[in-house]
């Protein structure tokens, strides 16, 4: 019976993998990835993560102001809109983290010195991080944007840390010739 279940499981998984392989989006590990990773960082740092923006979206004073108007319709509409904004925000943070993950994989696959254990543990870490982001989405969906303001604030802080380390990673991966070009032009300017 166990053998039957195992065979059915492996067979079904293989068929599903083949189907997803047929319809998969092609990913290229090239300069396109580098540009996308840079865009992801810019989006996270410039558009999604600034503390002021997060604080403004989830600021309770807005809710208190709406509550003072004593109109249930307005309050409901306000909460609905804020919830939508919160979900869009968390979703976009998750998407940008996914892009950074793709960037790491797109780079790592070329390295002959790739370490199997490191890659496996990184894969696990990425999966855990993305799962946590997904959980936050569920939490906001179920309990609304004001149910856990500290969670959202901490998520922003987390993603900000991710950004700063990613930026180091991207700087580290910037082609040497680009640095040389910048240095060269500086030297010309000195003369």
């Amino acid at each position: 019976m166990i053998q039957l279940i195992l065979s059915l499981l492996i067979g079904s998984l293989l068929l599903l993998s083949v189907a997803s392989f047929v319809f998969r989006r092609r990913a290229e590990g090239s300069s396109v990835d580098l540009v996308e990773a840079r865009q992801a960082l810019n989006a996270l740092q410039g558009g999604l993560l600034p503390a002021e923006l997060v604080a403004r979206i989830f600021d309770r004073t807005d809710l208190e102001y709406v509550n003072m108007q004593r109109s249930p319709e307005v309050r409901e509409l306000f909460l609905e809109e804020r919830k939508r904004i919160a979900l869009v925000w968390v979703g976009r943070v998750r998407k940008q983290i996914t892009r950074l993950k793709s960037f790491h994989l797109g780079s790592a696959r070329f390295y002959a010195g790739l370490d199997l254990r490191t890659e496996l543990s990184l894969a696990l870490d990425f999966a855990r991080l993305l799962f946590a982001c997904r959980m936050l989405e569920v939490f906001v969906q179920l309990r609304g944007p004001y149910a856990a303001p500290r969670i959202l604030g901490a998520t922003a802080a987390t993603a900000a840390k991710v950004c700063s380390v990613s930026q180091e990673s991207l700087a580290f991966l910037t082609p040497v010739y680009a640095v040389r070009a910048v240095n060269g032009s500086a030297r010309h300017a000195d003369f």
Binding site: L14, S30, L114
Partner: protein
């Protein structure tokens, strides 16, 4: 009658596949795949003729040719290693380590068992059981390779995609059908007679379309970083992930 028609159709498709392989110069590019395709064509043609003229001989030989085809089917997996992973040293290393362990198991099943089998009757008995185990190991290996290809986003052209899709669906369907046949018993035989050959015909059609002409794999446009920089990349990514994870653990506790 229908099963005989499927059989003849299969031989015709195999012949067409080999013809196109020679015409399009694919045989030299994918030798392992065409060795497998040739073995299928030769064994099917030989078995068809013996089935018509000497059914007793067919009974004896079909098990051995079955073993041979199962073993040579690994050629497709070798082509994946040769062509898909050749441009990606990191992914290739990952796949190689996983693949060696599984290939060891495949070779044990394919070579050692038939050699120690004392007669064709034993080979027949073993074949039914081993076919399922052998297909399961191959399916498991292909499943692992597909996950690595998908995880690292490796790109490939129509030729190799077709090989993988055709072989993958045939392996998956065969594995499920074999498991059900051994569990349900003779009642499943009538379904088995059609399911397995139809899945094989589908694989042949996919291969014929995908391998009609040569399509080289796309070369990666540029390489980021140097070979010795992996540790730096991994440690920076690890810092990023661990920082994010520790913060999220705190978040979950809030």
């Amino acid at each position: 009658m229908l099963s005989l028609t499927i059989w003849v159709l299969g031989i015709a498709l195999e012949a067409m596949l080999l013809y196109r392989g020679v015409r399009a110069g694919l045989v030299s590019r994918y030798p392992n795949f065409y060795i497998y395709a040739s073995s299928l064509f030769l064994s099917d043609s030989f078995l068809y003729l013996t089935y018509l003229w000497k059914p007793t001989l067919y009974d004896k030989w079909s098990w051995y040719t079955g073993f041979l085809s199962l073993f040579l089917g690994c050629g497709i997996l070798l082509e994946i290693f040769r062509h898909v992973f050749s441009e990606y040293a990191g992914a290739e290393k990952f796949a190689r380590v996983c693949g060696f362990a599984m290939l060891g198991a495949v070779i044990c099943f394919a070579v050692i068992y038939p050699l120690v089998a004392p007669s064709s009757a034993v080979a027949r008995a073993l074949y039914v059981r081993l076919q399922r185990d052998f297909v399961a190991v191959q399916a498991f290996l292909l499943l692992g390779l597909l996950q690595i290809i998908s995880y690292y986003g490796l790109s490939m052209a129509r030729n190799l995609r077709g090989m993988i899709v055709g072989y993958g669906q045939a392996l998956g369907v065969t594995l499920i059908a074999l498991a059900l046949r051994s569990y349900i018993g003779p009642q499943f035989q009538s379904t088995w007679v059609y399911v397995q050959p139809l899945s094989y015909l589908t694989a042949l059609v996919v291969w014929l379309v995908a391998l009609w002409s040569y399509r080289p794999n796309p070369k990666p446009k540029s390489r980021i970083g140097a070979d010795g920089d992996y540790d730096g990349l991994a440690s920076r990514t690890r810092e990023m992930v661990s920082a994010a994870s520790s913060e999220l653990v705190k978040v979950e506790r809030l």
